[in-house]
Amino acid sequence: MTLKQKKMNTSYLRNAVLIAFVLLSVSCKKYLEEVPDYALPTGSAITDASTARAAIIGTYDRVQNYYASAYPTLGTITTDNVIFNGTLSEYLQLDQNAIPTDNVITVSAYQSIYRTINSANSVITYVPLVNDPLLTDAEKNKILGEAYFIRALSYFDLGRGWGGVQLQLKPTTNLSVLKGIKRSTLDQTYDQVLADLTRAEQLLPEDATTRNRAQKSAARALRARLHLYRKQWADAETYATQVINNTKYTLLKPYKSFFTAPFLTRESVLELSYSANDRNSYWNLWYPSSSGGQFTLKPSDALIAKLNNPAIGGSRNTLIAGTGATVYGVLYNTVGISTDPSYLIRIAELYLIRAEARAQQNKLTDAAEDLNAIRARADVAVTTAVTQAALIQAIEDENGIEFAFEAHRWFDLVRTERAGAVLGITNRNFWLFPIPYSDIQSDPDVTQNPGY
């Protein structure tokens, strides 16, 4: 071997090592790239028509997450209608209205609502940027309108449960966007709800046959409720009337038809649908173990007596079944199949909103008329109340029966400041749920509700 050859060999060797090294480091880098097959990278989540549609669907899914079980539980077991009958102490805490800051149900509802808001914020921020011929302006507006509606609903549900909350209006892309946002007042929270509802009403399409996605009427109905909560009686009446006058909705007879499959009845202004692939097993908390349930939530003896009284409950006695110690609620009744809707807004509510708004404005005859519409549907005689105060009391009682197992009574008694008189919760601090313990620990910008 000549010297030259040797030199050549070494340089070959050096080059080979160099190339091998480069190849290896490139292949190492590639070798370590792994991406999931079930998720999209955040940066390219909403980019075209199909992901925009998927994002609003995902936002509805988030509403399902808190309305399937947690939110209606918060509105019922906290009142005199429903008592704790299970083993899980988080329900006992709610029943006793002694709610620790880490109560599982309040924490789960609070967390799920903000997850909904983050989804809605993402749709509101990114969908306008989508440039896809398959996504028409009409559809874009519909999607945006739904997102504004859902954000309004979410902040409304936070406000009436926890008081004024921190208003997140931008999607969370990193944690720095959170800094410095303090709690708003309840008025500010409700102002935000109103702003979103106004946008939603503009953007949403006119009502078609749909009842399980937001349309103009849903926005108007929620707005009627918002005005009622804010004691803006005239506005409440106006918006309630707009929905009631829509022939798409009607009070169904018998009472139980709205919660008997097939659902999406003419009673419904907005309900969330479930299916075999997307289940709602809320019935499980209401049915006894002999029917396969947990029986954690049980109608109180007082409610059972009212429902069974033909002069009060009328045909609404179909809300309960069973005998003796095992009387249970059957509003959520798709036992085993688990497809009960979440009832968000029924037309009956609009009648009672208008009744109350009218009564407050001293339009007593009109108010009684609306109240009697509800009573007549339940085969109960017309109201005997004549004075304003009596009528308002009668409307409160009617609400308690009509929406016995829906997310109403607790929030009604709190907004009318009657929770002390009716439920014996004289300490007003406990009219609001606590901000979750974990947020108190992790969020320097949040303050706890007084008394917790």
């Binding site: 070798y31 370590l32 910008d445």
Partner: protein, 1024 residues
């Protein structure tokens, strides 16, 4: 990736090929014949497998199964033989003719043993790291499936808890404490060079209890020995995987030139509950319920005489016993058949095992079928190839016995005892949320069938004496097939008319490794000992899961998902990769001074694009003072070594495969349309959690090697924790995985082996070990509360140890009012969540074991105590069943009878009431069982310290002369008791319990859990 494997494979083939080609045989000149036998000097038993070498040559043979050997050699007499055998002192014998008898003295301690350290073997005396070695016999013939749970109390620095008495169920295994919070705290298990998967493959929900111990798949009978690498010097070579310690298991292999030995062993065991649940009788429950009703009326300002008592005559109530039908005498059967041996070129071990074990609480059980084949072949003098293959089938009947009203134990324990088990029409009666326990026992049908293959093939090529290249290809393939059917006789199936689910979980771990190692004694007098290696690893982990479920069946005998009326399915897959390069060098001078160092670089696909690679160096020093004249002159120490080490190791286990990526997950569907929603925030800087560990230790033997002591102190600091930092919920997320926080573990370990009496006929040895560990969270973003189904009884808080309990500290029950009074931590005069405080911890201050073994002629007797001290247990059974009347569907434990009844009563159980007014009032009735305290009172937290007689064994080995006539070389029969005695103040059934073990941060709960059984077993081992 495929390419890399392919390249490696071609390389390997090339080496095999060239070495076969170069193999040549040379016929020698014969100058002498030598026959001999090697015996144990103590017992005069032959020693098969001893290595006999003619000094100054490479000519080496091994003794056969009768301890015999022979040489046909070119050497002339006299020449010197070097005779060695693991566990015996090496001996030099000059021979001047045939035959010859050589007696080897057993080494009284393990200091001279060869120890498997990271990727190499070293003599224990030179090692600077901290390593515990345990012989396989320690974990054999025990009525437990997993070898790792049997290490409890057997090794220093290791804390083992069997979480429940369910056979094959989950265990907690920690080497020197919890290093992490969200990443894994389990050690790396390596079996014959295979990195094995240790994640529980069973999906069936058992109420947060780990369903299985994946290491129970390994048949303990196959194990030769176990090494536990504890300090940074020992573990750093495993870099990213070693921070939680490494458990290296070596299984049995045959020895060259030995005749086949066939071993047959069996044992039969009978287990019972040492203690069974006790509940208040029907009249007692009625009495307590009345009292609660009256007290509540008084608290509400009502006249008690107006109360309508639910039980006008409590004594008229019946008592229906549910507990006794829950328990049974559980059978355990174990059979093993194995053979090992070797020819001049190859060795083999074949082992077959069958274990069947019932739980003492019906209906769960566990069966394991295992087969192992270990084979090595010296293709040429330079090339050795080998394989280890292990097939396991595990078969479990599961019972969701925890934490669930429809679980077996809860359904028997919680319902009120005056309620009949059956309805009047003979059907199963159910109350409130609870199912009927007999319905469950008779109808539960949840089976987990596991198939696992752990295999390895390797080639080892010796270029020069001392310079070897080893290439190894490993697979650990787990396939878990879970089938569960709830028929219409149990509450889970009533509503849906039968519901079934079928899930297959597959976990595949592929590992390829190349290691080039160099071991040499150099220089004058061979004073320089060098042990060095470099290598690389390519590791892929693929997890796949497919599951189908269905509801609505035509009949209870139809269970297949395919015939369900409504069906749904899901599938998922995740893959992670790890690429590593490593090197290690150790240098010893004159057998006295050792210095070593190692470094490893790891790249993981789990981490952020910015910080994928981590580098983990370590170094150690060892000084054998006993080789120094000034120590020798003292005439005290037979061996004395000081060692110290410092290094880094990493952790990436326990986080998701795509944890660093910002993700919008699909599946957020509505109205049968596909939906997406944000689920994870991006963290491009996510990187390795790193543990820095300092260790200093000593090992010495005195009194003519009769007393051996090993002591270590360590200080581990884990930083850049892979922490799910809680973020404000308003972000739309609950946590963000980032490198934040630090945990420190420091501790002291002491192990003592003593040979108290050593005569030909009688021997008595004692082994004692104790390990102290102190854990502290040094840095944390904010408190993290968790555990007990949202009750947040466990807390992680800076300045405190992990696994702390936060409760309201009950000071006393006011003798005047009977109401509980709690410590008002912030002194605002109210009891609110700010008054919850850390009142204890589930981690023991120290754990240890004491073993005494005696043998007299053929009789052997031993007993083993395990102890742990200083840990607390949250007694959830008391939490639920000492409820003061607040739980209308739950009965009472007898402890409720100790409640306050009248002024002057001194007790820690407050007055019964369900009053809920003024929930913030300290000493108010609301906080007795409800209110803000909501029963989260320290009165349910108990001391969990205990000392337990784990095993007691009496055995008899039949005399050899009797046996040889019937062709048996060894026969031992024995009687053994397990968990015979326990000394504890704990009020629950069993202080060794951890019901919420699925999460490493919720340790120390006792919640409707199967207690550890007491077992009596008989067994026999026969060798032909």
């Amino acid at each position: 990736m495929k390419n890399l494997y392919k390249k490696g494979f071609y390389l390997f083939l090339c080496i095999v090929w060239s070495s076969i080609a170069s193999a040549q045989q040379v016929s020698p000149t014969i100058k002498s014949h030598l026959n001999g036998i090697v015996l144990d000097a103590g017992t005069n038993q032959p020693l098969p497998g001893a290595v006999v070498k003619i000094r100054g040559t490479t000519h080496t043979v091994s003794t056969d199964s009768d301890g015999k050997f022979s040489f046909v050699t070119g050497q002339s007499f006299p020449y010197t033989l070097l005779v060695s055998f693991i566990g015996y002192d090496q001996k030099e014998v000059t021979v001047n003719g045939s035959p010859v008898t050589i007696r080897l003295q057993e080494t009284l301690n393990q200091l001279n043993d060869v120890v498997v350290t990271g990727y190499s073997t070293q003599e224990r005396k030179y090692i600077a790291g901290s390593i515990s070695s345990i012989s396989g016999s320690v974990v054999q013939n025990q009525p437990s499936g997993g070898f790792n749970q049997l290490l409890q109390g057997k090794a220093t620095g290791v804390q083992v808890t069997t979480n429940s008495g369910v056979p094959g169920g989950g265990i907690t295994f920690r080497v020197r404490g919890n290093n992490s919070i969200n990443a894994s705290v389990d050690p790396l298990y390596i079996i014959d060079g295979v990195f094995v998967n240790n994640s529980d493959p069973i999906t069936a929900g058992l109420g947060n209890q780990a369903a299985s111990n994946p290491m129970a798949d390994l048949n303990p009978a196959d194990i030769e020995d176990i090494q536990i690498l504890k300090d940074a010097n020992a573990t750093a070579i495993y870099g990213s995987l070693g921070a939680n310690g490494v458990v290296i298991v070596t299984t049995k292999r045959g020895k060259r030139n030995t005749k086949a030995a066939i071993n047959l062993s069996t044992f039969q065991g009978w287990s019972t509950a040492v203690d069974q649940f006790k509940v208040a009788t029907g009249p007692e429950v009625a009495l307590l319920t009345n009292e609660s009703r009256v007290n509540t009326a008084i608290d509400n300002g009502l006249n008690p005489s107006t109360v309508v008592l639910p039980f006008p005559d409590p004594s008229a109530q019946q008592t229906y016993d549910r507990i006794s039908s829950l328990f049974r005498t559980a059978r355990t059967s174990n059979y093993e058949l194995s053979t090992l041996g070797g020819t001049d070129r190859s060795t083999y071990y074949i082992g077959l095992g069958y274990l069947s074990q019932e739980s003492i609480v019906k209906p769960s059980d566990y069966k394991r079928y295992s087969g192992r084949f270990n084979y090595d072949n010296y293709l040429t003098d330079r090339l050795k190839v080998g394989t280890s293959i292990n097939f396991i089938r595990s078969d479990r009947n599961l019972s969701g016995s925890d934490n669930n009203p429809t679980g077996v134990i809860n359904s028997a324990l919680f319902p009120r005892s005056y309620l009949p088990v059956y309805n009047a029409d003979g059907t199963y009666a159910r109350y409130g949320s609870f199912d009927n326990h007999l319905a469950l026992i008779n109808n539960l049908d949840s089976k987990a069938l596991g198939w696992r293959t752990i295999g390895n093939i390797f080639g080892e090529y010796t270029f020069l004496p001392g310079l070897k290249l080893r290439s190894s290809w490993s697979i650990d393939n787990t396939s878990e097939y879970d089938n569960s059917y709830s028929n219409t006789l149990i509450s889970a199936g009533i509503a849906s008319n039968g519901s079934a689910s079928s899930t297959e979980n597959k976990a595949l771990v592929l590992t390829n490794e190349q290691v080039l190692s160099f071991v040499k004694n150099l220089g004058e007098g061979r004073k320089h000992n060098v042990n060095a290696l470099i290598g690389n690893t390519i590791n892929t982990v693929l997890n796949q899961s497919t599951s189908a479920s269905g509801t609505g069946f035509a009949a209870n005998s139809l269970k297949s998902v395919s015939v369900a009326a409504t069906r749904s399915g899901t599938a998922s897959s995740a893959e992670t990769k790890l690429l590593s390069f490593f090197g290690k060098a150790s240098y010893t001078y004159d057998g006295k001074y050792t210095i070593d160092g190692s470094i490893r670089a790891d790249g993981s696909s789990k981490f952020g694009t910015n910080k994928r690679w981590g580098y983990f160096p370590s170094g150690g020093l060892a000084w054998r003072l006993s080789q120094e004249d000034f120590i020798k002159n003292l005439n005290i120490f037979d061996e004395l070594k000081l060692r110290a080490s410092l290094g880094l190791s990493g952790n990436q286990n326990g986080i998701g495969a795509y944890a660093a990526q910002g993700l919008w997950s699909s599946g957020a569907n509505y109205l049968e349309q596909p939906g997406i929603a944000p689920t994870q925030l991006i963290n491009p800087d996510l990187t390795w959690e790193t543990t820095r560990q300092f260790n200093v230790g000593t090992e010495f033997t005195i009194l003519k090697k009769r007393l051996q002591i090993v002591a270590d102190y360590y200080n581990k600091y884990t930083y850049d924790l892979l922490l799910n930092v809680p973020v404000p919920y308003r972000s739309g997320f609950s946590s963000y995985l980032q490198n934040y926080g630090a945990v420190r573990n420091k501790g002291f370990e002491l192990g003592i082996n003593s040979t108290n009496i050593q005569t030909d006929a009688f021997q008595w040895t004692t082994n004692f070990n104790i390990s102290f560990n102190n854990n502290k969270i040094e840095k944390l973003a904010s408190d993290i509360s968790l555990g007990a189904s949202g009750r947040n009884i466990s807390i992680l808080r800076q300045g405190y140890a992990v696994n702390s309990f936060q409760l309201y500290k009950q000071l006393y029950v006011d003798p005047q009012t009977g109401n509980a009074v709690y410590e008002d931590v912030n002194k605002d005069g109210q009891i609110t969540s700010a008054d919850r405080q850390i009142v204890g911890n589930a981690l023991p201050k120290y754990t240890g074991g004491l073993t005494n073994s005696f043998s007299y002629k053929g009789i052997d007797f031993s007993f083993f105590f395990y102890f742990q001290q200083g840990n607390k247990i949250m007694n959830m059974n008391d939490f639920f069943m000492v409820h003061g009347g607040t739980q209308a569907n739950i009965g009472f434990l007898p402890r409720q009878l100790e409640r306050w009844q009248q002024p002057g009563d001194i007790t820690d159980i407050p007055r019964l009431t369900t009053y809920s007014g003024n929930p913030t009032e300290n000493g108010g009735a609301a906080n007795n069982y409800g209110g803000n305290v909501a029963s989260l009172s320290s009165r349910y937290l108990e001391d969990g310290s205990f000392i337990r007689l784990k095993t007691l064994t009496l055995g008899y080995t039949l005399p050899r002369n009797v046996l040889t006539r019937v062709g048996v070389s060894k026969l031992r029969v024995y009687l053994q008791g397990t968990n015979l005695l326990t000394f504890t103040r704990y009020g629950g059934l069993d202080p060794e319990v951890s019901s919420q073990s699925n999460n490493q941060n919720t340790v120390g709960y006792d919640w409707a859990t199967v207690p550890q059984p007491g077992t009596i077993q008989i067994g026999a081992n026969v060798t032909f």
